[in-house]
Symmetry: C2
Subunit: 564 residues, 2 copies
């Protein structure tokens, strides 16, 4: 059995190591076009910022280790340039020496990853414009920042009586994971950072109103955000550096530009092999990671995967699924049954001291598919018991099916405990959990860690109250036309309130019900929704029509959630 594995990061490396464990006698060749086998690409932005100091830390397993410990013919600086599927051979070019060799295979595994999206924007190839995809990328960025450049010298001509050297200016193009992680790391290095994003929000998998929380948090940490405005051109600036001109005509000065516009599957080799490419542009495989050619498998960022919730084909460039697919490919080659169950898109990103994370379907994804069999809630539970120091609210949006009560997706942002709740909800989603399962979950509780009603429980309880009809809810996007009743205490209204709202504190409501209209739906508001729920229960049982505005004032202003 001779197996050629193309691509030595994540999926490819996992496949090679697993295959050796399953078959001591297989002849395994593992080729990587870059200079490093199995490097930690998720760590690259943190190396730019010096959080990860030493480049060597990023090198997970060397080619030598693959050779010595696993008896694998591991080659770096080696590019697969074409596949002859009929002959079952692959041509490899040694990028150091230039010579091409033809290697035969019984099974071929494609793990080429994804390429950066790099649109033909005028000036995109100017010096000073970088990507953050490889270890060498980060090396040149670090050198550019540390040692200066022909462009940076221009800064010293800066006029005025400045007492300090002005900050080096960075423009990051793209508000996705890598762009934002790099932006944060450039702030850590004391650069003046602007993020330019064509969409009207950062972090596209989040719904717009949740992304807003992240945006305010980044701005509070000194990142300038330019949303809804794509880059039109890059050009050399008059006094050094670059001018980044946007489609709206704005110009942003930069000493360094990071382009991070996402990735697309690298299908060059797959196309040369003649295997099927899907409608999303990725290599199409079955759930055993086998392509349309039974002897060619494919894994990682280059393949299309089924969305776990909807069953639709999707592209997800994530390390976890890539590793699991690599293992599955090895199992299948070794004659075992193993299947990939699809992806939920579970993700997390650090935003300075904050965290954003999500799993499953977003509301906009549901809407895009015309799916209206869902309800959503907004809640703001504390990360742990409120009486123990350091408790922080977590902003959570939870989506669930009206018809079968199943969890559909969740998004959360906060300063503490966000990843824990989304990991738990990700597992819940995987197991087909209902909101009742969330309500009844028995999770870790002690005052420093959670609450007797954990945010996950709380989400389930609120959702169940909504579906039972105990808690009819409305959302701010169509609430302000209704009759709004604010049941908070007077000092709270002084801080922020909706204009023209009727105010009766909860404690007085039983005695003042006749101040409310009998013929209109009363939309009850408080800080986060809890007192509004109590009030709504009271009003409903008194025969009035009432509902809770989900998430209360916190949902209205999206202020103070990460930064209270």
């Amino acid at each position: 059995m001779k197996v050629a594995i193309i691509g030595g990061v994540a999926g490819g490396a996992s496949c090679a190591a697993r295959l050796r464990r399953l078959d001591e006698n297989a002849e395994i060749i593992l080729v990587e076009r870059g200079p490093y086998m199995s490097y930690a690409n998720c760590g690259l932005p943190y190396h730019v910022g010096g959080v990860i100091q030493d480049e060597a830390e990023l090198l997970v397993a060397s080619a030598e280790l693959f050779r010595e410990q696993f008896n694998i013919d591991a080659r770096v600086n080696c590019e697969a340039i074409s596949v002859d599927a009929a002959a079952k051979t692959v041509d490899l070019r040694d990028l150091t020496m230039g010579d091409v060799t033809t290697v035969s295979y019984d099974k071929l595994v494609l793990s080429p990853g994804a390429k950066s999206v790099r649109p033909p924007i005028p000036g995109i190839d100017l010096p000073g414009i970088f990507e953050v995809r490889t270890v060498p990328d980060t090396r040149v960025i670090r050198q550019w920042i540390e040692k200066g450049s022909p462009f940076l010298s221009g800064m010293h001509k800066y006029s005025g009586f400045q007492t300090a050297r002005p900050k080096t200016r960075a423009v990051v193009v793209g508000g996705g994971f890598i762009g934002l992680e790099t932006a944060e790391n450039l702030v850590h290095r004391d650069l003046d950072v602007t993020v330019v994003e064509m969409a009207d929000q950062i972090l596209m998998p989040l719904d717009r109103e949740m992304a807003l929380i992240a945006e305010k948090h980044l701005e509070r940490h000194g990142v300038r955000l330019v949303l809804g405005d794509g880059v039109a051109s890059f050009s050399p600036a008059q006094h050094g550096g670059l001018d980044v001109t946007t489609q709206s005509g704005s110009v942003y000065s930069a000493d360094i530009v990071i382009v991070s516009l996402g990735v697309k599957p690298d299908t060059m080799l797959a196309k040369s092999a003649g295997v099927d490419i899907g409608e999303r542009g990725g290599i199409r495989t079955d759930d055993r990671m086998v392509t349309s050619d039974p002897d060619i498998l494919a894994v990682g960022d280059a393949v299309e995967v089924r969305d776990f919730v909807t069953g639709e084909w999707s592209l997800i460039a994530l390390a976890g699924p890539a590793n699991r697919q690599g293992r599955i490919a090895a199992d299948v080659i070794a004659g075992r049954d193993a299947r990939f169950r699809g992806t939920q898109g579970t993700s997390v990103i650090g935003l300075f001291d904050g965290t954003a994370a999500w799993t499953g379907q977003s509301e906009k994804a549901l809407k895009r598919r015309g799916d209206d069999d869902y309800e959503k809630i907004y809640i703001y539970p504390n990360s742990h018991a409120g009486y123990y120091p350091g408790a922080r609210p977590i902003a959570m949006k939870v989506l669930f099916r009206k018809s079968n009560r199943k969890l559909l997706g969740a998004q959360a942002l906060g300063l503490d405990g966000v990843d824990k709740r989304i990991s738990t909800l990700a597992f819940a989603l995987q197991m087909g959990a209902t909101i009742d399962d969330l309500a009844e979950a028995e999770l870790c509780y002690a005052p420093p860690y959670g609450s007797a009603k954990d945010p996950v429980n709380f989400a389930g309880m609120v959702a169940a109250d909504v579906l039972s009809g105990d808690m009819p809810i409305r959302h701010w996007d169509n609430a302000e036309e209704g009759f709004l009743l604010d049941v908070r205490e007077l000092p709270e209204l002084a801080v922020e309130c909706v204009e023209g709202v009727k105010h009766i504190p909860l404690g007085q409501l039983r005695g003042r019900v006749d101040e409310l209209p009998k013929d209109r739906e009363i939309l009850v508001v408080c800080r986060s929704g809890q007192r509004a729920y109590y009030a709504t229960r009271m009003l409903l049982q008194m025969g009035l029509k009432a509902s809770v505005v989900s998430g209360g004032m916190l949902s209205h202003f999206q202020n103070g959630v990460l930064d209270a």
Copy 2:
């Protein structure tokens, strides 16, 4: 509908608030024998230590709030002294005034909680011996420490040329949650702390070898542990303070003693009502929290609950289940269907900068029941990507069914990310997840938060490799008679190794296989088990008999896991 709820903390308070939301017209009376309604008893140890500074922080919801916001007849300092189930009345004594009133009910909810176990040890009622059960308890402890006492003055007679006042000495009797949390908090207050525990380990729900990790960590933080030795007597010491004499005859000097020997259900009222008491000594209810009297319900620490995994009756004094039971009782009273699904015993405790947490069955619980349809693994994955600063190993023991691959229980200790993994595994257990579900879970991953193979994935992968036969395993308790092969590098052996072990580094193993016996099982050891797995795969495929010693050297010495 008139409902009397006895006990105003956790279960009782939850029941009262929920019932009001479900029935605006119910007449609800909520009585609490202590001076505070709905206080945060889980926070008491942290108030002793000053982590929670203000006593008022511990008061979650006052009697006034219950009256004003919920229209509930809430009474503190009011003790229920007997129930006449035939007449459907309960006698209440006002502890301030002393007068007794008889209250009728349609439904009665018993939420009396549990009482401290307080064995008749000679001297247990001496001044200076305290419990940590109520807000007044913590107040007297704080005063005793801050202002001194007749006993503390004895310290100043301490002989010698001391330059500093000797530390106040505390003896904590009992190594459970409250005892250890209080011990830590007394260390924070700079007391010299000794914990005396009759059992041969602390934290009884943990298996012995996992508790050992916590014990070493506590000792490293200055807590003196005396295990396997119960207290025989307390007596006034010659020069002030108390002498704590153990059954082995040792004497420990104390200026203050905290007795924390666990709790037992308070069934006084239930017995007066004539409802069934179970064999574990708790009030027996069905899964709707209804006792043997259809008009009397019971919730919280006083009731027996079904173990979620085994179905056996058990006693679990935890806030989360108590709150859920309170809600269920309210639902049932309001005529709804709601059922308690049993408890997993999910728990977490902070141990200085470390954390211990667990869910489901322990190995000793399985053994106690004669259940041998299980396997166990020990793993030590990093809390997040090893290349990102601050990654710490998590010591995990995971138990699963051999016959159906289902998760049975998990225990974890570490400095970071422990509660996250146990909460996720607790949800997995609740949903009946298999080890394959763990392996395939898609959890939050970015370098500061986890790994592409999260510890939960890793647990599932290792467990699946064990059950598939890919990774035969042994455990240290019966490993040392076998032929041990250590595949670590030479410098690692210099740090610690098992005497007489055969040593071949993994990278040399393929070439040196003939140094190994063909007729004996080779037990392979490395640091944590990963290289041993690679070696075992190699040896098995070469026709030798081999297995991995689960958890490797980390499991052998249980050193350096929390304190590397």
